[in-house]
Chain length 413, copies 2
C-alpha cells in the first residue's frame, strides 16, 4: 500500500504539534495536559473513522477494524504517544499514526482481510516523568502489578497511579486489558531506530532480531583527597584518574563485545566534593551495558569488575560495583521476522537485521504473542531531542512494509 504522504503528515502534525516547542520539538510527558490532549485528539480521529474504540481502564487506547472472521484473534499494531522532556516528534507517535493510517486505508479501500486488526496505544512508555520505562505495557503484560504504579512518583510527588485515577481510569482493573493483549494473534511495532546504523548503511528498513536489555552498574572509587599543589605525583591516590582508566576500559569492553551486539559506556561521572585545588578523592560512575546475548552481557559485567580490581590494586584506591538493574534481552518472534522480510522483498526495499539497543513496548508484549519490530532511519541517529528528523521517503518505506505486514498477518488463518 502506498502512503499519501502529504495527507498523512498533515494529520500527523495535528498530534505532533500538541506540546510543540519553539525549536521544532515537542513535550508530552505521560498524563500531562499535553499528553491528555493528544490522547483525546487521537481517540476522536479513531472514532471518526468508524473504528470501535476502547478506553482500556489502565490507560491504553484500543481501536478495532473488524475482519471477515471476527472470531479470530486480532493482529495488533501499536506504540506510544507520550514523550521525554524536550523531545522530537517521531519517537512513538510515528508508529501509532502509521498503524492507524494503514487500518484507515484498508477500511476505506475495503481491502479484504480475514482477521481483525487492532491498534493499541500504550501509556507511559517514557520514563521521563515517572522514572520507569514502558510501564503501561509492563502492566498489561503482567510484568508488574498496579502497586508498582504507586511507586512511580514524579518530581512533584504525584504517583502514576494517582495520575491515572485523576483521568477517571482504574489502574487496578487490569484483567480486561491483559486478556485482550494475551489473546492477540501477533503484535507489530514500527519505530524510528534512535541510532545511526540504518542511515550509515543507507538502508530504509531494520528488522529487529532482539531488544537489548540494559544492565546498569554504579561504581564508586575512593582515593584520597590531597592538595593539588602540595602532594607529589607519586603519592597521589587520584580517584578521577582511576575513574578515567575504568571509563576507557569500559569502552574497550564494549568495542570487544560489539561483535556480539553488546555495547557498554560510562554515562555518568560525578566527583564528590570537587574543588579546583584538591586531588579528587571520590568518584561515582554510572555504567550502561546493553546486549541481546546474555553471555556477552555477563562478560561485559565481569570485564568491568576485573578492570576495576586491577585499577584498584595498581593505584591503591578502593572500588565497589553495585548492579542497579539487570534486565534480560528479548528475542523477537522468528515468524514475525520472516514475515517482515517477505514484505520487504515484496516491496523491493533493502532491509537489515539488527538488534534494538533501546527498550520498547514490544519487549513486554513479546512473551505473550508473536512480536515483531520494524525500524526506520532517523537523521544522524538523533532521538529524544527536537532535532529528531525522519526523511519522508523512509516514512513511506516503513508504511509500505508495515501495511503489507498487517495484511499478510490478517490474511493468515
Amino acid at each position: 500500500m502506498k502512503l499519501d504522504t502529504a495527507e498523512f503528515l498533515e494529520v500527523f502534525e495535528r498530534i505532533a504539534s500538541i506540546g510543540a516547542t519553539p525549536d521544532g520539538g515537542c513535550e508530552r510527558l505521560s498524563m500531562s495536559p499535553e499528553d491528555i490532549e493528544a490522547r483525546a485528539l487521537l481517540t476522536g480521529l479513531l472514532e471518526e473513522e468508524g473504528f470501535a474504540v476502547w478506553r482500556e481502564p489502565t490507560g491504553s487506547i484500543w481501536a478495532r477494524l473488524e475482519g471477515e472472521d471476527p472470531s479470530l484473534a486480532p493482529v495488533l499494531v501499536g506504540s506510544h504517544i507520550d514523550t521525554v522532556r524536550n523531545a522530537g516528534k517521531y519517537d512513538g507517535l510515528l508508529g501509532v499514526m502509521l498503524g492507524y493510517w494503514a487500518m484507515r486505508q484498508i477500511r476505506r479501500e475495503k481491502i479484504p482481510h480475514r482477521r481483525p486488526i487492532e491498534l493499541v496505544v500504550f501509556p507511559t512508555e517514557e520514563s521521563a516523568r515517572f522514572n520507569y520505562p514502558t510501564v503501561g505495557s509492563k502492566l498489561l503484560a503482567g510484568r508488574v502489578g498496579p502497586d508498582k504504579l504507586r511507586e512511580c512518583i514524579d518530581a512533584g510527588g504525584v504517583s502514576l497511579y494517582d495520575a491515572l485515577r485523576a483521568q477517571g481510569l482504574d489502574p487496578d482493573d487490569t484483567e480486561p486489558g491483559r486478556r485482550r493483549l494475551r489473546e492477540a494473534f501477533c503484535f507489530a511495532e514500527l519505530h524510528i531506530e534512535q541510532g545511526p546504523s540504518l542511515e550509515s548503511r543507507r538502508t530504509p528498513i531494520g528488522i529487529v532480531e532482539a531488544i537489548a536489555a540494559p544492565t546498569r552498574l554504579t561504581v564508586e572509587i575512593t582515593g584520597e583527597y590531597a592538595h593539588s599543589g602540595a602532594c607529589p605525583m607519586h603519592l597521589r591516590r587520584d580517584a578521577l584518574a582511576a575513574a578515567a582508566e575504568l571509563i576507557l576500559a569500559v569502552e574497550k569492553i564494549g568495542r570487544f563485545e560489539s561483535v556480539n551486539h553488546s555495547v557498554a559506556a560510562v554515562t555518568r561521572c560525578r566527583l564528590v566534593n570537587e574543588s579546583m585545588n584538591v586531588i579528587p578523592g571520590h568518584a561515582v560512575l554510572g555504567i550502561d551495558i546493553r546486549g541481546i546475548d546474555q553471555d556477552s552481557i555477563d562478560r561485559c559485567v565481569e570485564g568491568v569488575r576485573r578492570s576495576l580490581r586491577k585499577i584498584c590494586s595498581t593505584r591503591g584506591v578502593r572500588g565497589g560495583v553495585e548492579v542497579v538493574s539487570k534486565d534480560s534481552p528479548v528475542q523477537m518472534s522468528p515468524t514475525m521476522m520472516h514475515a517482515i522480510r517477505k514484505c520487504c522483498e515484496h516491496c523491493r526495499l533493502p532491509y537489515h537485521l539488527m538488534p534494538s539497543g533501546a527498550g520498547h513496548d514490544a519487549m513486554n508484549v513479546a512473551p505473550l504473542t508473536d512480536t515483531g519490530m520494524i525500524f526506520i532511519p532517523c537523521k544522524n541517529g538523533v532521538s529524544h531531542n527536537p532535532a529528531e528528523s525522519v526523511e519522508p521517503s523512509d516514512i513511506e518505506a516503513g508504511y509500505q512494509v508495515l501495511s503489507e505486514l498487517l495484511l499478510d498477518r490478517a490474511k493468515h488463518r
Copy 2:
C-alpha cells in the same frame, strides 16, 4: 629556644577552638563572626603581652617587640588565621601563634636582639569565602588595588570590600600598611606542609626554595549525545571517553615533569546534561598545574594542548582550552634559605629543601623583602580538613628553628 609545649597548646587551643566543628576541625571564613572573634582574642593576647599593636586599616594585624635599635628595619614573622570551610586547626594559625610565642619568650626572657621583631597577621588568605586567595597580602604588597576587593564577592553577594568596611576598616587606606611591609628587613613564615613529603622522609623541617604558581585551565570537550543502547560503539563520539584520555594524559605529563617539581591534575570533571541512557556529549574539565620552573610549567600546558588535539582528531570530537589563571612561581630569598639551614644545623634538626606546592602569603611578600618559609610535617599530608594533625615534636622543632631564625635575623646589623 625551647617550647613549653603544654602551655603553648593551651593558648593555641583558645583560638583554634573558635569556630570549632564537632569532628575536631574548625571553620573561620574570612571576616565571619568566628574570624572576627579570633582576631579580637589574638589582638587581646598581643596587647596583654605588652606589644605595640596596630590594627592596620586594610585588615592586617601587627604587633611590635622593640629592639635595641628601634631605628632599624624590623624582622617580620607571620601568616594568617582565617580558614577554609570544614578546616583543620593548624593551617595558618600555627605559624601566627609560634611567631607570637617566640616574640613573647624573647621579651619575657629579655633575650638581646638588635632589630625590632614584628608579627603580621594577613587577612583573607583563604579563597573559601571570597574566591580569591591571599588577597590581604596581595593588597599590602601592591599586587592588587582596593578595587579588586569590590570584585571579591561571597555566596551571599557581600564583597570583601564591604565586609572590611563593616568592621570599621578602610580598604582604600593602603599606604601605611604597604610602607611598613616594604620597609621590613625580612619576612619569615612557618606553615604546615599540606603534603606528605616531609612525613614520608621522616624529616621535621622543610626549607622552601620556591612557591609554585598555579596555572588553571578549563577544557571543554564536545562530542555527540547519542542513545547509549541504540548507537553502535564505532559511531560514538563519547565526550567522557575523550575526557578520560585527557585525564590520563595530564597525569602522565605531571609525572614526567615532576623531576622539575611540577605537578598536574584534572581536579574537576562535569558532564553537561548527563543521563544514564545517553552517551555523554559534553564534558568540562578543570586542570590545575603547579610548578616552580616556568619552562616546565609551559611544557605542561603545551602538553595538555597537544594531547587534546590528538584526542580530538582520533575521536572526532571538538576540544577547547581556556587559560583561567596563570601565576608565576616565586623564589624564596637565598639569604633566608641559608639562614634557616644554619638554624637547623644549630638545632641539630634534619631538613629538606623543597618547593611549596600550595600558595602562601610569603609569595606576595617575597618581591618586597627577603622572604623565607619553614615547613613542618602534617599527618598523612592532610590539610583543609578536620583530620589535619601535627605531632607535638614537629611543632617543637618548628618553634626551635623559627625562634632561632628571628633572633639570628634580629641580631643582624
